[in-house]
C-alpha cells in the first residue's frame, strides 16, 4: 500500500520515538509497552529532561520541528500527541 509523504514521515517519527523510549522502558521497569494513548509523563516513563532530549533528537534525526502549540495541557502527552506535535509538512 502506498503511503503519503506525511504518513510515512509520521511513521519514521513514531519509530524514532519508540527507539528512544526503549532504554527508558527497561530503566523504569515499565513492562506493559507503550501504545498511542500511554501517558508518558504520568506513568513515570520519562521526565521533563527526557522529553526535551527526545524532542531534540527527533528534530535532528527526522528534520522536523516540534510545535508545542499543538499540545493540549489537559489531555497530556501520549505517543500519539507527541507524534502529532511534529510538523510533518
Amino acid at each position: 500500500m502506498l503511503m503519503s509523504n506525511s504518513s510515512s514521515k509520521s511513521e519514521i517519527i513514531r519509530s524514532t520515538i519508540l527507539e528512544l523510549l526503549t532504554p527508558r522502558l527497561s530503566r523504569s521497569g515499565f513492562r506493559n509497552g507503550v501504545d498511542a494513548s500511554t501517558q508518558l509523563l504520568e506513568v513515570g516513563l520519562i521526565d521533563s529532561k527526557d522529553l526535551l532530549d527526545i524532542i531534540l533528537e527527533v528534530e535532528e534525526r527526522c528534520a522536523v520541528e516540534f510545535d508545542a502549540e499543538r499540545i493540549d495541557f489537559e489531555s497530556g502527552l501520549t505517543l500519539g500527541s507527541l507524534i502529532s506535535a511534529f510538523a510533518t509538512s
Partner: protein, 556 residues
C-alpha cells in the same frame, strides 16, 4: 550603606499585614467566599468549598488527637501530589495549629521514612495519587500514626497496609463535624517543616514559623499587589518552599491558584498559561530554559501575564530577556533565597530597557533585600567585607528561621550573626553563597563557597550524592558532578564518576535511586582510569570536570 551591610527598612505599604498563613487565607475567605480559590485536576473550588474541605480534615485530626494533652507538639505529614486533597490538607494542618511536613511521593520510601522519623508527625494525609506508597513508607515505622485517606472509598484494603496504624477513609471523614481554626497560634509556632539536602547524607529539617512565613507573604503582597482577579501558576511540589509563595500570595488576595497538570509536562505549559489566562508566573529558571529550547518563548506569546518571577537558581540574562519579549505586558523579577530564610529574601526587577553594563552580565542580579530584611557580605571569619568586595552572603531579619530542626550543632555553624555591632538584635543565616554588591543593581550572585549545586531548582549537596554512590558502588573513590551544562549555563543533571567498582552502572544508579530523590540520582556513571588528586591528596574536582568536558572518561 555602611560597610557591606544593606537593609531595607521601608515600612510595608500594605496596611493589612497579618500574623499567620492561616490568617491570610481566612481574611480572603471572609471577603471572597464564592470566588474561585483553586483550580486543580480540572475542577474549581471556591474559598468556601476549600475552607469546608479543610475544616472536615481538621475535625478528624483534632478528634484523633483529643486523647493526647500534648497534641500541640505534633505535626501533620502530607503524602500528596497536587490534588484537591493536598491543598485542603495544608489548610487543615494550619487550622489545628500543626506545622505541615510535605512527604513527596516521588521521593524514595527510605527518604520519606527518614523524614517521618526525624519529625514529630503523628498524622498523615494521603491523596489518591499517593496511596500506592503508603504501605512501603509506613512499614516497620516504630510509632503508630493516624492516616487520613480522604480520597479512599470506605472499603480500604486494610490487609494490604502495615498494621499498627489507624486508617481513616473518606466515609468516616465526611461524617465528622468540621473544626474551627485554632485561635492560639503565635508568631513563633511552626507553619511548615521542610527537609533539604544535607552534606552528611541525612536531610536537614527547617521549621519555618508563622512569623517567618507571614513576613515573607506580607512583603510579597506589598511588592506585587495581587488582587482577586489575578490567576497564579502553581508548578512546585509541596516539598519545595516556592509553593508557599504561590498558595499564600494567591489566597491572601482573593485570587485563584491554577495547578499545572503534570501529564503534559513542560510542553503543555504554553497552552496552560494561555487557556487559564494566568497573570502571575513563578518557576525555576530551568523550566523557563526548557520552554525556550522548545521555542515556546516567541514574542507576545503570553499577553495575559503581569508578573514573571524566577527563583531557585541563577537566572541567565538571555533567558530573562527572551521571557520579557514573550510576555511583553509583564515585569520580570529574579528572586533569591534559601529555605532557611523563607521562600525568597532578595529581589531584582529587570528593567525593560536594555543597558550594556547590565546585559553583559551572565546572570540577572539578585538585587536588594525585601522590606524589613538585611544582608551583609562577610569574610571567612564573619567580619564585614569592605564596600565593593565579594564575600559570603548573610541574611538577617524576620524571615530567618530559628535553626535546623533538632540539629543544634548544624544550626550553630550556619545561623551565625556577622561579627559587627550592626548585626545585633536579629537572627542571621550564613548562606554559603558568594556575592558582591553592585551600587546600581544590588547583589550579584557569584556562586557557592562549598559543593552545593542546583539541579532544576532543587538544592543538592554533592556530598550527599557521593555518600549514596559509595554505598551503591562499594568503593570510596567516587565523585558527583553537575553535568551536562545547558546552553544557558544551567546544570541539567548529575553524573557520577568512579575509580573502579565491581558494580555495574545500573546497580550504582539503582542503589542511589533507593536513597535519593530522582533529581539527585546520577544519570550516568563514568569510569576514570587515573583518579586525579590535588596536592592534599583529595579528589581534584576541577580535573574531573575537565575529563568530562574533553570526553576523556568511559561509561561504566
Amino acid at each position: 550603606m555602611e560597610g557591606s551591610i544593606c537593609d531595607n527598612d521601608a515600612a510595608l505599604s500594605c496596611n493589612e499585614a497579618l500574623p499567620s498563613l492561616l490568617a491570610l487565607f481566612l481574611a480572603s475567605r471572609r471577603s471572597y467566599q464564592n470566588r474561585p480559590a483553586l483550580w486543580v485536576e480540572g475542577r474549581t473550588f471556591t474559598y468556601s468549598e476549600l475552607y469546608d474541605a479543610a475544616g472536615r480534615l481538621a475535625g478528624v485530626i483534632r478528634a484523633a488527637r483529643s486523647h493526647d494533652a500534648g497534641y500541640q507538639r505534633y505535626q501533620c505529614g502530607l503524602l500528596v501530589n497536587r490534588t484537591p486533597t493536598a491543598y485542603a490538607a495544608v489548610l487543615a494542618s494550619l487550622m489545628v495549629g500543626s506545622p505541615y511536613v510535605p512527604l513527596n511521593p516521588r521521593f524514595p520510601c527510605r527518604r520519606l521514612r527518614d523524614v517521618l522519623l526525624s519529625s514529630a508527625v503523628d498524622t498523615i494525609v494521603v491523596d489518591h495519587r499517593s496511596s500506592a506508597v503508603v504501605g512501603p513508607v509506613l512499614d516497620s515505622l516504630p510509632r503508630p500514626l493516624t492516616v487520613l485517606m480522604p480520597d479512599a472509598e470506605t472499603a480500604v484494603d486494610y490487609a494490604a497496609l502495615p498494621r499498627g496504624h489507624r486508617y481513616i477513609p473518606r466515609g468516616e471523614i465526611e461524617g465528622t463535624s468540621p473544626a474551627a481554626p485554632t485561635a492560639d497560634c503565635s508568631a513563633e509556632d511552626g507553619a511548615y517543616l521542610l527537609f533539604t539536602s544535607g552534606s552528611t547524607g541525612t536531610p536537614k529539617g527547617v521549621l519555618i514559623s508563622h512569623g517567618n512565613a507571614a513576613a515573607y507573604v506580607n512583603n510579597a503582597r506589598a511588592r506585587y499587589r495581587p488582587g482577586p482577579e489575578d490567576r497564579f501558576s502553581q508548578l512546585f511540589d509541596f516539598s519545595f518552599d516556592l509553593s508557599v509563595h504561590d498558595m499564600f500570595l494567591a489566597w491572601s488576595s482573593g485570587a485563584c491558584l491554577y495547578c499545572a497538570p503534570e501529564r503534559a509536562g513542560v510542553a503543555g505549559l504554553g497552552d496552560f498559561i494561555r487557556r487559564c489566562g494566568l497573570t502571575f508566573w513563578f518557576s525555576v529558571p530551568a523550566t523557563a530554559a526548557f520552554m525556550r529550547q522548545l521555542r515556546m518563548l516567541k514574542p507576545c506569546s503570553y499577553p495575559t501575564l503581569r508578573w514573571r518571577l524566577f527563583c531557585g537558581e541563577a537566572l541567565p540574562m538571555g533567558l530573562a530577556r527572551a521571557w520579557q519579549e514573550a510576555a511583553p505586558n509583564s515585569i520580570v523579577e529574579n528572586l533569591y533565597g534559601p529555605t532557611e530564610a523563607t521562600v525568597a529574601f532578595t529581589a531584582y526587577r529587570l528593567p525593560r530597557q536594555r543597558r550594556s553594563e547590565l546585559d553583559e552580565l551572565p546572570t540577572v542580579p539578585i538585587g536588594m533585600p525585601l522590606a524589613g530584611q538585611k544582608v551583609m557580605l562577610v569574610d571567612d571569619n564573619g567580619k564585614p567585607m569592605p564596600d565593593g568586595e565579594a564575600g559570603e552572603l548573610c541574611l538577617g531579619g524576620s524571615q530567618v528561621a530559628a535553626g535546623y530542626w533538632r540539629a543544634s550543632g548544624q544550626s550553630a555553624s550556619r545561623f551565625q550573626p556577622p561579627q559587627c555591632a550592626d548585626a545585633e538584635g536579629m537572627r542571621w543565616y550564613r548562606t554559603g553563597d558568594r556575592a558582591v554588591m553592585n551600587r546600581e543593581h544590588g547583589l550579584i550572585f557569584l556562586g557557592r563557597i562549598d559543593r552545593q549545586v542546583k539541579i532544576r531548582g532543587h538544592r543538592v549537596e554533592l556530598m550527599e550524592v557521593e555518600n549514596a554512590m559509595r554505598v551503591a558502588a562499594a568503593t570510596d573513590m567516587v565523585a558527583a558532578l553537575p553535568w551536562p551544562i545547558g546552553d544557558d549555563g544551567l546544570a541539567l543533571g548529575l553524573v557520577g564518576l568512579v575509580a573502579r567498582s565491581q558494580k555495574t552502572a545500573a546497580e550504582i544508579i539503582d542503589g542511589c535511586g533507593d536513597r535519593l530523590p530522582d533529581y539527585m540520582v546520577p544519570s550516568q556513571i563514568y569510569v576514570v582510569a587515573n583518579w586525579p588528586l590535588n596536592g592534599n591528596g583529595k579528589t581534584d574536582y576541577t580535573s574531573l570536570t575537565g575529563l568530562l568536558r574533553n570526553a576523556d572518561v568511559e561509561l561504566q
